[in-house]
Symmetry: C2
Amino acid sequence: MALYSSMDKAQLEQEYAKLREAYENYKAEGHSLNMARGKPGAEQLALSVDMLNILTPDSVFKTEDNPDVRNYGGLDGIIEAKRLFGEILEVDPENIFVGGSSSLNMMFDTIACLKEQLWKGQDNLKFLCPAPGYDRHFGVTEYFGFELITVPMTENGPDMDVVEKLVAEDASIKGIWIVPKYSNPQGITCSDETVRRFAALKPAAKDFRIMWDNAYVIHDINDTPDKLLNIFDEVKKTGNEDMVFEFCSFSKVTFPGAGVAALAASKTNLEMIKKRYTFQTIGFDKLNMLRHVQYFKDIDGVRAHMQKHRAVLQPRFEMVLSILGRELSDCGIAKWTNPNGGYFVSVDVMPGTAKRVVALCKEAGVVLTGAGATYPYGKDPEDKNIRIAPTYPPIEELEIAMNIFCVCARLAACEMLNKH
Amino acid sequence: MALYSSMDKAQLEQEYAKLREAYENYKAEGHSLNMARGKPGAEQLALSVDMLNILTPDSVFKTEDNPDVRNYGGLDGIIEAKRLFGEILEVDPENIFVGGSSSLNMMFDTIACLKEQLWKGQDNLKFLCPAPGYDRHFGVTEYFGFELITVPMTENGPDMDVVEKLVAEDASIKGIWIVPKYSNPQGITCSDETVRRFAALKPAAKDFRIMWDNAYVIHDINDTPDKLLNIFDEVKKTGNEDMVFEFCSFSKVTFPGAGVAALAASKTNLEMIKKRYTFQTIGFDKLNMLRHVQYFKDIDGVRAHMQKHRAVLQPRFEMVLSILGRELSDCGIAKWTNPNGGYFVSVDVMPGTAKRVVALCKEAGVVLTGAGATYPYGKDPEDKNIRIAPTYPPIEELEIAMNIFCVCARLAACEMLNKH
C-alpha cells in the first residue's frame, strides 16, 4: 500500500477494484453491526448489577439530612450524594445539585431555566458550539431557537482565540458548550491554558454561561490519563464564578438512563436553578441516590469501579487504533485521534467523503453515527469527520466493523480521487 | 355548645375565654405536628419496601420491546409499563408515554413544550384554575407567565357554566388544570355531566388543552368509591381527542419521588411531546419501570396494593371527620368535605379567619398548608379554605393536631364575631 496522493490513475483504479472486491465480500457476509452511539456494552452493564438489590426492606432510609429517602422532600438531593459528586468534581458539596438520572436532561433544564429567567425577553440569541462536538448539546440550543456558531477544535480544546474574539464582540452570544475532558468525539482534554482562558473570558454579554459537561471526568482508558484543571478554582481567581455550570452523571459508570446526574454551580446559579426546580418537581429519586452512595461509598469506590470499565474498554480502543493504523496509515487519506479516555475515536476521512463512507458502511451492515452529526445543524463543512463508538458491539464484531469501515474509507477516497 | 351566630356578646366572650384556656394548655404541651403536605406516612412507605430488591444481579433485563433496560434506548418507556398505566387509566398502551419519577415534572414539561411549540409566539396567555385546587398546578403556569383565572368548584367539579363561557369568549385562555377524581383538596370527583361538558368544550382557542391530572385514580379510601367517566372515551365522541393530556404516577402507590410517572395523550399530542423529549433526554429510568412492573404484574396487583393503603388511610380520614363533626358541627362556623378517596379533607372555616387559624395552629405547634395556598397566587378571596392532610403524622399525633385545629378554628371565629 502506498500514499493515494502519489498513485497515478491506473494504480488508483487497481486499488479501487481490489477494495470493491473486499467490500462486496463483506456485503455478502450480511453483517449487522453498530458503532453509532456511545452506549456501554454488555460486559460493562454487568459490572454494576450488584447495585440493584443493595437496598432491601431492612435498609435504613434515614440519611444525614433526610428523615426518609422513600418520601417527598429534599429538592437538591441527599447530602451523601452531594459529597460523592463533590469528590468526583472536586467542588464543595454545597455547590452541588443532585438531580434525576440524566445529565442531558439537567443541561436541557438549565438552558430552559436561563432562557426563562436570566435571558428572558432577549431574542435572536446565539450559542457557541466547538466542533466536532456532541450532537445532543447542539440539539438542545437548536430546540430553544439559538443560532449555533461553530468554533474550531484544536488539540488543546476549543480555539480560544476565536472564542475570546466572538464573545467580546457580540453580546447576543450567551454561552458555549464544551466537554472539557475526553471531548466527544475527539477525546481532547482542554489544556491548562485553555481552562484559564475560559475562566478569564470577558464576554460582552454579562449573562454569558459556560456549559461545562464533564461527562468523562473519571473515564480514563489507559495508564496515561489526561489531567484537567478545576474550572471552579480558576473562575474564583478571575471573579467569574457565576459563568460556569458543570455537569456529570453516573450514566456511564452504572446504568445509562438509570444512574444519577448532578450539576455544580455558584450559589447564585444554584439559586436560579432551584427557583425553576421548585416549580418543576417536588424532588428527584433519592432511593436511586442512596443506592449509588451505598454501592460506591466514596470516590475510591468509584475509581475502583472505573478500573473495571477500563479493563473492558482499553482492548477495544487498542483494537480500533491498531486497525486504523494498519489499514489507513500508509494510504494517507485519514487522520484520527488517540484518546486517553472517553467513549470515542474521531476519524477525519478524506474531505468530501464522510457521507459516502457512512453510506457505504450502512450498505455493508455497519451503522455509524451520521456524517455531520458532530457539527451544528448536522453540517460538517468539509464532510470529513466520523465518530467511531467502540464500546457497544461485542469485540469480535467491533473488529469486523472496523475492517469494513477502513475498506469503505479507502473506497470512498479512491472514488473521489478517480473523479479528478 | 350552640350556634355561634345565635350567641350574644356575653356568651361569645365566655366561649372565647374557655377556648383560650384550652388553646394555652395545648401550647404549653409544646407540640410539633404537621398536617401540611400530602405525604404518605411511615406505615404506607413500609408497604412497598419489598419492591426494592425485586431486581437482582440475575434478573432478565430484556423485555418485550427492549433489548436491555440497563442501557440507553426507549424514549417513551418499556411496553410492559405502558400496559400497566394503560390498564390504570383505561387507555390504549399506544397512547401512553412513561416518563421519570414525577408526574408534576411531566406536567411542567408539557406546559413548557406547549409554550415552546404549540403556543409559540403568542403572548399574554391565560390559564383556568378551578379553586380550591392544587397549588403546584397553579405554580407551573405562574412560572411560565400565564395569567391565572380562578374558576369556582362545585360538588360536581369545576363550574362548567363558567368554564364554557370563558373559553368560548377568550382565545388567550389556553388551558385548564383539573384533578378530576378526588380533587386536591376537596376530594370532589367530576360528575358524568362535567366530564361530558369538558369533552364537548368549544374553546375560542383552537390550541386549548385540558391538563387532566388523574393523581388519585386508584386512591379510594372506603366502600363507596367515586366513579369517573373516561375522558378519552368522551373526547373520541366529540372529536376533541387532541384537547386532553392525562397524567398519573406511582408516587402515592410506591414511593413519592421514586415511583414512575406517565401521561396519556392522542397520537398528535404524543408526537408533540416526543419532539421535545427527544432533545431533552435519551430516556427515563427503565430499571425503575421494570421494578414496578415486576412487583405489580398487572392492574390486579396494583389494586391489591391500594387496599393496603386504604387500610392505613381509612381510620385517619374517619378520625379527622369525626373530630370535625364533634367539635365544629354545633357551632356552625365551618363546612368540610367527606371524600371517598384522595389525600385531603378541605375545611372552610368562617370567612376571613383562615389565615388566623393557620397562624394560631402554628403557634401551638401544628403546621398546616398555608391559608390561600389552594387558590391562584395564594390568595383565597374569602380567606376561608384550609387543606387538611391526614396521611403523614402518626395517628395519635393526628388526633391531637385535629383537636388543636378545631380549637383554633373556633377561637378565630369568636375573635371575628367579638369584633363586630
